[in-house]
């Protein structure tokens, strides 16, 4: 009983951590440009597949190069890190293709919703071309986790190691990012651009470079989430990131648009609430998630920790 409860809470916190990663990705881009990057879910998929390939996974029979794989196979940690960086680079590409041309022409910012959605669809289709539509399972066992056992016994309860890692890694990423944003010179500069890009330039801050940095970090967060979910569950197909992208969007709204602590709180709330849905009723999980969103927005229209006014320049 205790064991199930502990495992349930851990599962909830772990997926909550991943939701927070995705929501933070949205938050970064939203705070500097005031728009939502709808390619975020596709970047989540990209991260999952990159992690799979970097760990030595091979392309299946329906892919472009059946049986092909990267030589060797990196340990879980390294693959995850590189996949996050790779997704960050793809995020930069999305900025270049879907956002930069609109900014140069001073276009209506809402148009970026469509262009980024388009970029996301293209990415997912490219993944499907390369990897096929089939699902992929990661190799499980001690070698996949770099020598760690598959399950740990904590306080008499057996829990899956990967879930614990999921929670720890996403918590570390979220914490590092918030600290960087709050305390560092670069983080201050990014927040300055978010509030007033013109004034930031007068202070010597390269606003465009900061926008690109936000896209890189945002893509890396999504990719990290995709890799973590891939390792802990599986890759059910190129579209799997889209669902997480939507969930992250719900978390973003739930926590309060543009608020970093809000994204974290919203992610945890969402993850825990879903985990508490008994497995016989698992079909109701998404319905519950959006019901929570609905109720919270009725009570607090700006989300859990939203700012009173969203100031944009």
């Amino acid at each position: 009983m205790i064991e199930t409860l502990l495992q349930t809470l851990l599962n909830g916190a772990a997926s909550g951590g991943v939701y927070a990663l995705v929501a933070l990705g949205y938050t970064l881009v939203f705070s500097v440009l005031g728009v939502i990057n709808f390619a975020q879910g596709a970047l989540f998929s990209v991260g999952g597949y990159l992690t799979f390939l970097l760990m030595g996974g091979r392309i299946g029979v329906n892919g472009a190069l059946p049986g092909w794989g990267l030589p060797g196979g990196l340990p879980f940690w390294l693959a995850l890190l590189l996949a996050a960086a790779g997704s960050g680079l793809v995020g930069l590409l999305v900025e270049r293709v879907a956002f930069a041309p609109l900014r140069r022409r001073n276009a209506e910012p809402l148009l970026a919703l469509i262009t980024s959605l388009g970029a996301g669809v293209v990415l997912v289709n490219l993944l499907q071309l390369l990897m096929g539509a089939e699902g992929y399972a990661f190799p499980h066992g001690s070698d996949a986790l770099g020598g760690l056992p598959d399950a740990l016994v904590i306080a008499g309860a057996r829990i899956r190691t990967i879930q614990l890692l999921l929670l720890l890694i996403s918590a570390a990423a979220v914490l590092a990012l918030s600290l960087w944003l709050e305390r560092s010179r670069g983080g201050r500069a990014l927040r300055a651009v978010a509030e007033d890009a013109t004034t930031a330039q007068l202070l010597g801050i390269h606003s465009e470079a900061m926008v690109r940095l936000a896209f890189f970090l945002s893509g890396a967060l999504a990719g990290l989430g995709g890799g973590l979910i891939g390792v802990s569950v599986s890759l059910p197909g190129p579209y799997f990131g889209i669902g997480y992208g939507l969930k992250g969007l719900a978390v973003l709204v739930l926590g309060g648009l543009g608020s970093v602590p809000g994204a974290i709180a919203g992610g945890l709330l969402m993850g825990l609430a879903e985990a508490l849905v008994p497995s016989e009723a698992s079909g109701w999980r998404d319905a519950l998630a959006f019901a929570i969103l609905f109720v919270v927005l009725l009570l607090r229209p700006r989300g859990l920790l939203g700012r009173r006014t969203v100031e944009k320049v």
């Binding site: 927040r191 007068l202 010597g204 801050i205």
Partner: protein, 238 residues
């Protein structure tokens, strides 16, 4: 005379079909405090924005130490020595007073000197020292103006472009700010001061120029301008 620090030659700026500046010439020498006067919509802020590359020049040249600034993007100008304290304060309201000041020193790496300058700013504007950990958005208008000036100083510019620092300040505060600017100028800072408060600006400036509908109509030593009958009538309430 020495090479001018800043020189505008026939500078014109358009906003769409509206001509905001119609060929103005202006020279600022090292160590000078020059004030740019004019009524609402005369083109004062536009002049500063053009120098800072925030709006493109339609015609004419902007020279810095004799070299053209054409093609230099806005974020590179502070590195060259041009600081700009923009109109309407523009403090970063969601960051603390201290963080605003640190952002002023964004390009600098000399940590010890940055902290010394921070203390100097707090000495110049003691009210900021008391509120250093408050959010800048919670400051009063006058305090925000002091913060904006102090933040520009933290970048250690050679030339400071100041856009209406007296706007919205109580007369006593206007005096304080002008005294602070005069002191900074005596310490070697070159200043191009945009003002509508001609009396206050001319009391500390060496020279002044008057802009009307995008054209310079009057220029001369501050003392002459203070005594000028047309200026008296238009801007000095005489």
């Amino acid at each position: 005379m020495s090479t001018p620090l800043l020189e505008l030659q026939g500078l014109s700026v358009h906003y769409g079909s509206v001509q905001a500046l119609a060929g103005i010439d202006l020279v600022v020498h090292p160590g000078e405090l020059v004030t740019l006067l004019g009524s609402n919509g005369a083109g004062k802020s536009t002049t500063l924005r053009a120098i800072s590359a925030l709006v493109p020049a339609a015609a004419g040249q902007i020279l810095w130490r004799g070299g053209s600034l054409a093609g230099v993007p806005a974020h590179r100008l502070l590195k060259l020595g041009i600081g700009h304290c923009p109109e309407g304060r523009r403090v970063l309201s969601r960051q603390s007073v201290a963080d605003n000041l640190m952002l002023g020193a964004y390009l600098r790496r000399d940590t010890a000197a940055i902290h010394a300058d921070l203390e100097r700013c707090y000495g110049l504007f003691p009210r900021l020292a008391e509120r250093r950990s408050q959010l800048a958005g919670a400051l009063s208008g006058g305090e925000q103006q002091m913060l904006a000036i102090a933040r520009a100083l933290m970048g250690r510019p050679e030339l400071l472009l100041l856009d209406e620092p007296s706007l919205g300040l109580a007369p006593k505060l206007v005096g304080e700010v002008m005294a602070a600017l005069a002191q900074l100028n005596r310490e070697g800072l070159t200043i191009l001061l945009v003002e509508q408060n001609a009396q206050a600006a001319l009391s500390i400036a060496a020279r002044g120029v008057v802009l009307e509908a995008g054209r310079l109509t009057l220029a001369g030593p501050a003392a002459d301008l203070l005594a000028d009958p047309t200026l008296q009538a238009a801007y000095l309430g005489g």
